[in-house]
Symmetry: C2
Subunit: 373 residues, 2 copies
């Protein structure tokens, strides 16, 4: 993704534009969703995979962008600008405290339009944003599943693809060390609600890692009956993609390192992007299958997607963290599925920091059962 000088334009940027972009996340139906908009106009700013440049191309119906826009010069902090833009474009209201900065994105050429734009990205949280998007400006806004947005044939403008991945990675880190997960919950919540937030946010679909490698193995087995050479070829490419995306996961731990992009040649980047999107599409397909409403007797979506942690141990982990959550004495609530024992209701504690942190193991649990002692 090197955005070197765009060949066509003779006009060099005369001034800086400072913008904000907002990754508004919510959880619906066991899925992580992000708010996207369709900008006005007949052109989209899309990364051309052949050339490696972001270019203005005719707008397709599947082009999306993150809500965002220019910061006002006077009397408006970055976070305030993010709140305002989010509301203007999606009619979603969030408090400034619910926004966390991801980082600054400022490569030359990340925006092909006149001038030079540096964008500061934020993440917003809410248990359930108002869905209707009644606002007139928000007519083109909607929530989409993250895996779908990242998969073909959808396209995200600018470097918003990267911003979303950075955002998820950042949120994960924060969820282990701060009570940020509670922003996804209502004021009163059950341990199941809380666990659910962690389960979705840490799902391997957003974290192509060791877990995903096993997924690749499954594909390999399924394909082993058909054209084996082509399948092997395909898997090889996929494996490489997994490794690459795993590296991306690392890169996500730091806000976008502009230079890193500059270092990889356009050609290489292009290829990686292509494999990545293949992987993304496989994940999306998996997701679509799993999230289909289960017929009775069939395993639930959560189970099919291996989405659940051990409830008992998670509860113990969470409760031992001082000031994280506190019981509302005597108050219980039914789980969302309707059935099951009513659960204890909790409130947010006073701690601003999880000590000890609530670490979610990233590695697949080792298959080493007991090697004959």
């Amino acid at each position: 993704m090197e955005y070197t000088a765009k060949p066509a334009t003779n006009d060099r940027p005369t001034r800086f534009h400072v913008a904000v972009d907002v990754v508004a996340l919510t959880i619906k139906r066991n899925l992580l969703q992000v708010a996207v908009v369709q900008r006005e106009g007949s052109l989209s700013c899309i990364l051309d995979r052949k050339s490696g440049y972001v270019q203005e191309v005719p707008r397709e119906p599947f082009d999306y962008a993150l809500p965002g826009g220019h910061v006002k010069l006077n009397g408006e902090n970055l976070i305030q600008a993010a709140c305002r833009e989010l509301f203007e474009e999606t009619s979603i209201r969030v408090n400034p405290e619910d926004l966390v900065q991801i980082g600054a994105y400022g490569e030359v050429g990340r925006d092909p339009r006149p001038g030079r734009t540096v964008s500061i990205a934020f993440v917003a949280f809410s248990p359930d944003f108002a869905s209707p998007f009644a606002g007139s400006d928000a007519a083109n806004a909607k929530f989409m599943d993250v895996v779908e947005v990242l998969a073909d044939p959808n396209r995200l403008e600018f470097d918003h693809n990267q911003i979303i991945r950075d955002a998820i990675s950042r949120v994960r880190e924060l969820m282990e060390r701060t009570p940020i997960a509670l922003k996804f919950c209502d004021e009163e919540f059950t341990l199941g609600d809380l666990r659910h937030v962690y389960e979705v946010m840490f799902h391997h679909a957003y974290n192509p890692d060791a877990e995903t490698l096993r997924f690749a193995d499954r594909i390999r087995r399924e394909d082993s009956n058909s054209d084996s050479f082509a399948a092997e070829q395909q898997i090889h490419v996929l494996s490489k993609a997994f490794m690459e995306s795993s590296k991306n996961e690392l890169m996500m731990t730091m806000p976008m390192n502009d230079m890193r992009m500059g270092l990889s040649s356009g050609r290489k980047m292009t290829r990686d992007q292509d494999v990545y999107s293949k992987v993304q599409n496989l994940l999306a397909e998996e997701y679509r299958r799993a999230s289909r409403v289960s017929t009775p007797g069939e395993k639930s979506a959560r189970e099919k997607m291996k989405l659940s942690f051990d409830a008992a141990n998670f509860a113990r982990k969470a409760e031992v963290i001082e000031g994280f959550i506190e019981r509302v004495p005597g108050k219980t609530r039914h789980s969302s599925s309707g059935t099951g024992k009513p659960a204890q209701v909790y409130r947010r504690g006073k701690a601003e920091k999880l000590d000890p942190p609530l670490i979610i193991p990233r590695r697949a649990t080792k298959p080493t059962k007991r090697p004959a002692k």
Copy 2:
């Protein structure tokens, strides 16, 4: 220190300036050091603790700033700008890969000069920067101990105080999950060198936490003989400061939340800042004592400061991480102190990510020895 409140400026900002600031870290004599410069001109931009605003005041000899400056409009990415500015102002050369973005700082009023400046902060690493600062522009640049820079009577301009703390916090996180610590080491290094990097970077002087509370306790004991009421009062204030700074530590995990400043009243800000600087001065004093050259027979600085991890276990931890470090077969090197067994020499491995992560326990090891089984 009495500053006249900044007169209400009638000139509102007409344009955005985009700047970069660089936190250039190195380790010298067991101490973490940061490159600072003294800007030209007769005015410094200092946070006035009474009003809570950054104001231009007459320059004092102890005023410092981070190296940094404006990003060029054309053909210069943010990281490139950071490299350039760092070199221009301090004659330090770093590779773009050695820079990591911390975040964007863009509050209204963070720079009292005309226009509105949004600054992107980066961290730079090197095992040993060229000290001389021969460059003409770099005459006013030098490395200073981090604790000293943050302590009175030194002053840092703008919000650079916060940026340094953010930087350290970010570096810590990265050191646990990425091989970034190796950037502080030479190409060939020993496990002792590597451990040293972790020891310094995770020293409690930069992390006023549980560890620091014990430090406060010691002060309490030492002062118990003198005016006890005043001492208790003082300790109470200090404890509060520790808690506050501990909260800051959390806040540091996310890039500066612009709103946070806006939310806390000027008054509160002022008080917290004052206690913090007291604590900072105590830490600095401790540091000065400990880093004095030990007379023979006296404990070494490292030991006095309880700086050392368990070497054996650290080595095992590091070696088990796949692709982190790899031995240079048969090659050994003497430790820097001259004495002791020559150590195995290592090189950087291929991994971009530490899996499993090299977690440094933040909590004080529990005093629970063995409670009589």
